[in-house]
């Protein structure tokens, strides 16, 4: 076994704008842990710092502020009536947050439980380039890779949409379309017998829905997000303002995804001829509302894509599919 120098832990990491999810294999089962990829800054006081320390709330002190990161940040944002901040925006590290990398490192450390041991391996997700553009995906990928290597990991990256395919489509020999509807981006990939044949991202995703709905309703985006995650469903009943607005922007996102898929098929130069319909699997927090799958299926059925879709289904565990796929890739290829 000398090629894989040391035997160590293997994990998959879905680095999303909204959440960071870690997957590991325990025996035959997959296990997951997640942290919000977010933080909130509150003014420094010794009493507050000591209370946080006592309560075991993950935090750090920087430039006269206490930074609370991860899952606790949401609770404190509510308490302080302020917006949570993110280390990432639109799928990549936020250049306007100078401490974003440092905070992400702390969030990842909270998930992994500490620095890596020799031989530990990690496969992390990266977004696809936006349709028709390059974006700064390369910078993001290399920065996250460097951070993880600095923590002691052997690293590998995987396109987020492809990770969904590896996590969910083993029954079709990893042939099909995977879509991850996250916070900053929707990532789309198609693979044929495990080989990626197209991938792209669109910037209309959960955050776009939240901020657009917030602008219309006058609510804070964070409140919209919580309302969306707790109560929203597609039922055609528009009596409630927030529900109505969310439906409008969800439809816009679905429409952009279907248009993007159609465009990607048209522009892809080396599409294999697949002689059978392929499944499409939806994942990510933005795909969770009841009725989303039906809405998406209706939209894609009318799109007349060059590849026939055999089924549209929600991932077995939508919040974990990409992390699971990253882990599967790590176990198979590292």
């Amino acid at each position: 076994m000398k090629h894989a120098k040391n035997i160590g832990t293997v994990v998959g990491l879905d680095v999303g704008t909204s959440r960071v999810v870690l997957a590991e294999r325990l025996g035959e089962e997959f296990a997951y842990e997640s942290q919000l990829n977010a933080f909130v800054a509150i003014p420094f006081s010794k009493i507050t710092a000591s209370v946080l320390e006592k309560e075991g709330v993950p935090h750090s002190v920087q430039n006269g502020e206490i930074i609370i990161h991860g899952n606790e940040s949401e609770k404190f944002a509510e308490l302080m009536n302020t917006e949570i901040r993110r280390t990432m925006t639109r799928g990549t590290l936020d250049a306007k947050e100078p401490e974003s990398l440092n905070l992400m490192r702390q969030i990842v450390t909270a998930l992994t439980g500490g620095p890596a041991d020799p031989g530990d391996r990690i496969c992390f997700t990266v977004p696809a380039a936006p349709l028709g553009g390059e974006g700064n995906v390369t910078y993001h990928e290399s920065t996250v890779r460097h951070m993880l290597e600095d923590m002691g990991y052997q690293t590998k990256s995987i396109n987020e949409g492809l990770a969904v395919i590896y996590g969910e489509l083993e029954n079709t020999n990893y042939t099909g379309i995977g879509i991850s509807c996250g916070g900053g981006l929707c990532n789309v990939a198609m693979a044929y017998l495990s080989v990626p044949v197209l991938s792209f991202s669109i910037p209309k995703a959960g955050d776009y829905i939240d901020s657009s709905a917030a602008a219309v309703t006058g609510e804070r985006a964070n409140c919209i997000r919580i309302a969306k995650e707790q109560n929203f469903h597609f039922n055609g009943y528009f009596g409630e303002k927030i529900q109505q607005v969310l439906t409008v922007y969800y439809d816009e996102m679905i429409s952009s995804l279907v248009t993007g898929l159609s465009e990607a098929f048209t522009t892809a130069g080396n599409m294999p001829r697949i002689g059978r319909p392929v499944p499409l699997v939806l994942s990510g927090g933005t795909a969770l509302p009841a009725g989303f799958r039906d809405r998406f299926e209706k939209a894609i059925t009318g799109a007349d894509l060059p590849v026939k879709i055999s089924e549209v289904r929600l991932a077995s565990s939508p919040l974990h599919a990409a992390a699971k796929g990253a882990l599967v890739a790590a176990l198979a290829e590292m």
């Binding site: 076994m1 000398k2 090629h3 894989a4 120098k5 040391n6 035997i7 160590g8 294999r25 025996g27 041991d117 020799p118 031989g119 590896y166 083993e170 020999n173 990893y174 042939t175 044929y192 017998l193 495990s194 080989v195 044949v197 080396n270 599409m271 294999p272 001829r273 599967v328 890739a329 176990l331 198979a332 290829e333």
Partner: protein, 382 residues
């Protein structure tokens, strides 16, 4: 190299074979390896297209899938098989060893071997697998169901100093290793730092230990040793000053004796992972380098098998590798040097440049490898 999506010719074959692999990770591993190979220009596409026009390509394809024989080609006929090394004679017959106790948690044997069963796990059963007559690799393979050899590994896992004060740490690391080996079905046996022998994957099943691998004893060639070879791993880092403790060496010796006695394994089929590992992607040997040097042959009760020729080189055209040479302490094994010389002579006899001759041998590896896999698939289906 960018991996291309498999084309119409190869995709149905890959699809069919992948669907027969139960473990999703193994399935993905197979597909990634196969699609990488398929992206390499091994086939004259222009020629294939002209065959396709004649309407016979589907017949050939299904023949490849259904018939467990290597694909006939003009390649093999130009390879001189008469200059193969002679079949080896075993000067070191296995001793007689028998079971004393077979309890739920351990077994003991007449030579003092004790096997712990705490970490035993099942894996895919060792179905009939193909072995190939070295001098006629294009002949119908023979089928075997019993192990024919042993591959020695080192775990290269994290180590604590071998000192009394570190006992707890040594035990923790050892048990963590055993749990991991069980999880990934990596070896049949692990010998921990204290010389305790643990059975992990049961002997009737395959362990995923050898990866792409080749061994040959002059008479028979084995491709993909997971099926036919028992994996014995020492908890060790081979680049450390003293890779093995005295207890590990003793345990390795009595375990090897027992396995050789039980399956009548010849001493020349007891080899190290570095000797058998190949990388089909770059056509070089020594993809894994554990026990590239320093394996205590005599102490384990075996002759110095670094002297044996490598079938990967003389029969299948794999080349020497710098990292293997470095791992072997800068000295080429005697058997490797002899094998490289044999290929040079074979190429001269065939009137071909050595590079071209090796390429032809490597294509034969592809054929034999496909044949071995398809034979196994058919065996499992039956």
């Amino acid at each position: 190299m960018a991996i291309k999506a498999p084309g119409l010719l190869i995709a149905p074959v890959l699809d069919w074979r992948a669907a027969r692999i139960n473990d999703p990770i193994e399935r993905l591993r197979f597909l990634r390896a196969a699609t990488t190979r398929a992206s390499q220009p091994l086939i004259d596409v222009g020629r294939l297209k002209s065959i396709q026009k004649k309407g016979v390509v589907s017949v050939l394809l299904w023949a490849c899938v259904l018939i467990p024989l290597p694909i006939p080609s003009t390649v093999r006929s130009s390879v001189n098989m008469r200059t193969m090394p002679p079949a080896l004679q075993d000067q070191n017959q296995p001793a007689r060893v028998w079971t004393i106790d077979d309890k739920p948690t351990f077994e003991t044997y007449s030579n003092g071997l004790r096997i712990e069963k705490e970490f035993v796990t099942a894996n895919r059963a060792r179905g009939p697998y193909a072995v190939f007559p070295t001098k006629r690799l294009d002949a119908k393979p023979e089928m075997r169901t019993q192990p024919v050899g042993i591959v020695f590994h080192s775990t290269e896992s994290h180590q604590a100093p071998f000192e009394q004060a570190e006992t707890r740490n040594l035990r923790r690391l050892g048990r963590g290793l055993l749990g991991y080996v069980r999880q990934i079905h990596a070896y049949h046996y692990v010998i921990d730092r204290f010389g305790q022998v643990y059975r992990v994957v049961q002997e009737s099943d395959v362990a995923f230990h050898a990866g792409a691998s080749i061994w040959g004893d002059g008479q028979l060639s084995y491709v993909g040793l997971n099926s036919g070879f028992i994996a014995v791993a020492f908890e060790a880092q081979t680049d450390s000053e003293t890779p093995l403790s005295a207890a590990q060496i003793h345990a390795g010796r009595v375990l090897t004796e027992m396995l050789r006695a039980k399956y009548q394994i010849a001493s020349y089929d007891c080899v190290t992972h570095a000797q058998v590992s190949v990388n089909p992607q770059n056509g070089k040997i020594g993809y894994h380098t554990d026990w590239a040097t320093g394996f205590p042959w005599a102490a384990i009760g075996l002759p110095d098998n670094y002297k044996l020729p490598l079938a990967s080189v003389y029969a299948f055209g794999f080349e020497d590798d710098d990292s293997l040479l470095s791992a072997a302490g800068g000295r080429r094994w005697q058997g490797l040097a002899a094998s490289l010389e044999l290929v040079r002579q074979q190429a001269m006899t065939a009137g071909l440049p050595a590079e071209e001759y090796r390429r032809r041998l490597q294509r034969r590896f592809q054929d034999v490898s496909n044949s071995a896999i398809l034979t196994r698939e058919r065996g499992e289906e039956q």
